[in-house]
């Protein structure tokens, strides 16, 4: 029991102090997976940040990652626009926004 009470003890100058549990060890569940993804360099593990549109043609549509069979997306057609155009995107069904850009759902594994 004496040895157990010395868990995480470290020196600070000439004093001894007990440390808290290592953060990565304490974490669990989706919070842990999020932090591990951030540490691995992925700043958007859930793929919810906005992405810049690519060519967006029918042959090379903008690929929207999703781990579900449908996802709600919005298109900011031009820089000067003050509104967004929302649309549902379904698996295997590429869609075209009114501005001409094509989007397609791209399956990814959930975090």
């Amino acid at each position: 029991m004496l040895l157990k009470s010395l868990y995480g003890v470290s020196r600070f100058g000439v004093r001894f102090y007990r440390k808290l549990i290592d953060p990565l060890d304490l974490l669990t569940g989706i919070e842990k997976r999020e932090l591990l993804a951030h540490l691995a360099g992925d700043c958007d593990p859930f793929r919810i940040l906005s992405i810049k549109k690519g060519p967006g043609t029918r042959e090379r549509p903008n690929l929207i990652p999703s781990s579900n069979s449908s996802r709600l997306i919005c298109c900011h057609c031009t820089e000067s626009d003050n509104h967004l155009k929302f649309m549902w995107l379904h698996q295997g069904d590429p869609k075209r926004c009114g501005c001409g850009y094509w989007f397609e759902l791209c399956p990814i594994a959930p975090l």
Binding site: I21, L26, T28, R47, N68, P110
Partner: protein, 262 residues
Amino acid sequence: MKMNNNHPFHLVDYSPWPFTGAIGVLTLMTGMIKWFHNFNFNLIIMGYIITLLTAYQWWRDISREGTYQGKHTILVNKGLRWGMILFIISEIFFFISFFWAFFHSSLSPNIEIGSMWPPSSITPFNPFQIPLLNTIILISSGVTVTWAHHSLMENNFSQTKQSLFLTILLGFYFTILQAYEYIEAPFTIADSIYGSTFFMATGFHGIHVMIGTLFLLTCYIRHLNNHFSKNHHFGFEAAAWYWHFVDVVWLFLYISIYWWGN
């Protein structure tokens, strides 16, 4: 539509606590009326029990969801921060109303109380006795809670424990001293507008001190059970914010009611 949870949001599981909380405060309020009119404690006691049990179990579930289930992602943490900030702002407005009442009555005192403040035949507290000690206690507790936070961030378990314990001790000391003042007060809540404004403002502040002390105590217990890490300890931060708010309200109370109002 097949649904996966690939998002950082926390969609909470079904819980009975909002409903039991509503029943609890309804019983509490109805019980208060029964107490005032019929001098009967039964309903209010039941209301207290239901509300207290709801609060305990609801907050226990929140710490379980955060610590044991890992549902508190960065975004959820941000939401909790905003929630606490907005709650404290609402409490500030609550206290503003009591300060408004105090200044309304004291800046132009009615002829019925002698056109003076404090009203004639009211002997107010000497601000340089126990109230000054209370001020020193709360300011010191602000220092100790900041010490606890820095110790947490520096991964120092022992110092966090010591400083948090000191903060709680100071909180208890304040409550005991204020209770003594209340018992020994030469005036009551019924003694003109002075008594009303004094006891409403300091009384609600006292309740907030007790709630803050309890919040810090739960953080102390959670800390001993290794719930906190040096990066993720929002429960403690929320308690510290609340404690600083309680401290600031006391400073306003001391300056305006105890000192200026003397």
